[in-house]
């Protein structure tokens, strides 16, 4: 700061003028600070905080499209608790999320490891592997919808005619046995590069001397990975896993485009259930109750994650 704090304080005592007093209470840069933060504040209040509170209110009403809301308290939540379709969507959401996150974690570690090993054109390879993360998700989902197609899809063509692994084609997205695995695969395909690039950044920050010392002590690659690499990227791993858990749990477009929750509800997850309840069944209050049902879990996750993210910045 140009003006030392002590000097500021003495000035305030001597003059006692309004501006200096305000500076003392609100901080030395309060004018520019508030001016610069105002647009964000408006944005946060009007586009997130207000809709969020409005959502909580609406979730406690019977609201049909075009009708005024009627307050019913926790009725929507209680009704949902015993609704078989909803219960199934909750279970599916957890399967979809944890299935996806585990594979993204594994592939992300593999991606980071190969990108930090002795290879040429490192930035080229990094660029290639990041493509699914940058490409529009809708496009990727449509590509997979087309590749998974039961009769004309290229996946069946490859497996049946080229490699002859399967005797006949599989309706990847239309058969209950394979639909969930297929949508998980697409989510993993799209999301693992983010894990990889984050771990890569973490691994680059680990001092090389640690590995040299371990090699001198006779540690094999696996031991080096376990005792140096993993602890070194521990915090990043926690952040990325929590972040991805939130994103995956709330992922709408991949499942909406690939299966719309079908076949027979086997891939129906909570965000799609919310959408269907709101715009298919036209029951807005109940739809928002679906979206907010696991709010306590989400809130705790966000709080923990935000703490880690701010800590990561401070170091």
């Amino acid at each position: 700061m140009a003006v030392p704090a002590a000097e500021l304080r003495s000035k305030a005592v001597v003059s006692g003028s309004g501006t200096v007093g305000l500076r003392r209470v609100l901080g030395p840069d309060y004018r520019m600070g508030y001016l610069f933060v105002l647009p964000i504040a408006i944005c946060v209040l009007s586009l997130v905080a207000y809709p969020f509170c409005y959502a909580i209110y609406l979730s406690m009403t019977h609201k049909l499209v075009g009708m005024p809301p009627i307050f019913v308290g926790f009725e929507n939540y209680i009704r949902l608790t015993w609704d078989g379709f909803f219960q199934r969507a909750v279970v599916n959401s957890f399967i979809f999320t944890f299935g996806s996150v585990i594979f993204k974690l594994g592939l992300g570690v593999v991606m980071a490891l190969v990108l930090t090993s002795r290879i040429r054109w490192r930035s080229f390879w990094t660029g290639v592997l990041l493509v699914p993360w940058v490409a529009p998700t809708v496009v990727s989902a449509l590509n997979f919808l087309w590749m998974f197609d039961g009769s004309l899809g290229v996946l069946n063509y490859l497996l049946v005619r080229v490699f002859r692994i399967l005797p006949q084609g599989v309706g990847w997205l239309s058969e209950p046995g394979t639909a969930m695995a297929s949508v998980v695969a697409v989510n993993v395909w799209r999301g693992f590069p983010f894990f990889g690039i984050s771990f890569l950044a973490g691994m680059k920050a680990i001092p090389g001397e640690l590995y040299e010392a371990a090699a001198v002590d006779g540690a094999n690659p696996l031991q080096r990975f376990r005792h140096i690499t993993l602890p070194g990227i521990r915090n990043i791993m926690i952040i990325v896993v929590l972040l991805s858990t939130i994103w995956t749990f709330n992922d709408f477009q991949i499942i909406y485009i690939l299966t719309k929750g079908g076949p027979g509800g086997t891939t129906m997850v909570m965000p799609v259930f919310t959408y269907e309840t709101a715009f298919g069944a036209q029951r807005l209050g109940e739809a928002i109750a679906v979206a907010l049902y696991l709010l306590p879990v989400l809130a705790v996750t966000i709080m923990v994650l935000a703490r880690y993210m701010r800590q990561g910045r401070r170091r």
Partner: protein, 279 residues
């Protein structure tokens, strides 16, 4: 000798894994492009599965002449560019204030911004839709431009806060000792130095807005006002052999994002690793 053998083994494994991952990552795009250049006759048969034969551009012609694709393209460009400019401007000054300026409530605002970034759209889309309806902005591109800052602004702010924090504070102090105002130090010193970061943040905001699906699906009911992702998705289930022109639309939708990415990959990778999660 032993060390060299291990090194060769290591790079052999690395290249094998990279090769497999690259094929898995790129194949869907290869397949998208090939499909988009296949004619209808070839689609019905399985002749020359992996290469267009003959090379047909009828899908693109059909797409531009018979569908509203061109209008959607215009809508997407308009919405994405407007919301990118808005988010980058708001996010840049906000991030600077939260990273550098000293004022009461700074820590609170920084936390609020971060938490906002983490609140998923799936719990906001219905109330936001009602809100836009109340303002008469549902079913308009303005409604989308007004709603997109809910995710672009917190993201840009969070990314740039990390960037600004990494610029040595002494530079601004020196400028202010030489008589620059606080704003002058920001405008003349910090902003030019952070140009790569601002560029990366802007690009991410653009891709987020360009790719956004849920709000656009819910808010827009008029077919002509759709953005590309929703428009493309509306082709599904049209007619059974519509894959050719669907894929040509997918190619054209991916194009601007990938072109920007190829040119500015360095900034985007750095921005992501330095800004969003720093180790």
């Amino acid at each position: 000798m032993k060390g060299r053998g291990a090194a060769t083994l290591e790079s052999t494994i690395a290249y094998t894994v990279l090769g497999v991952l690259a094929i898995v990552v790129l194949f869907p795009f290869y397949w998208m492009i090939v499909t988009s250049f296949k004619g209808e006759d070839q689609m019905r048969s399985v002749v020359s599965m992996f290469w267009p034969k003959p090379f047909a551009i009828e899908n693109y012609q059909l797409l531009l002449a018979k569908t509203e694709f061109a209008a959607w393209y215009g809508n997407s460009v308009f919405v994405a560019v407007s919301s990118t400019l808005l988010a980058t401007a708001v996010g840049t000054i906000g991030a600077y204030a939260l990273a550098r300026l000293k004022f009461l409530g700074r820590g609170f605002m920084a936390s609020a911004t971060l938490i906002t970034y983490l609140v998923p759209p799936s719990i906001l889309f219905i109330p936001l839709y009602k809100q836009m309806q109340g303002l008469g902005m549902a079913n308009s591109l303005a409604g989308l431009i007004a709603a997109y800052p809910s995710f672009t602004v917190p993201f840009v702010t969070w990314l740039l806060m990390g960037y600004f924090e990494s610029i040595p504070e002494e530079l601004e102090e020196a400028a202010m000792i030489d008589g620059a105002t606080r704003f002058g130090a920001f405008y003349r010193i910090v902003l030019p130095l952070s140009a790569p970061g601002v560029l990366a943040a802007g690009l991410y905001a653009f891709t987020q807005a360009w790719n956004e699906f849920l709000y656009a699906l819910v808010f827009i009911t008029d077919g002509k006002l759709r953005t590309l992702p929703v428009g493309l998705a509306s082709f599904i289930g049209g007619d059974g052999y519509g894959w050719g022109y669907l894929m040509s639309g997918a190619v054209l939708t991916t194009l601007p994002v990938i072109v920007a990415y190829i040119y500015l990959q360095k900034y985007m990778v750095e921005g992501l690793t330095a800004g969003s999660v720093k180790g």
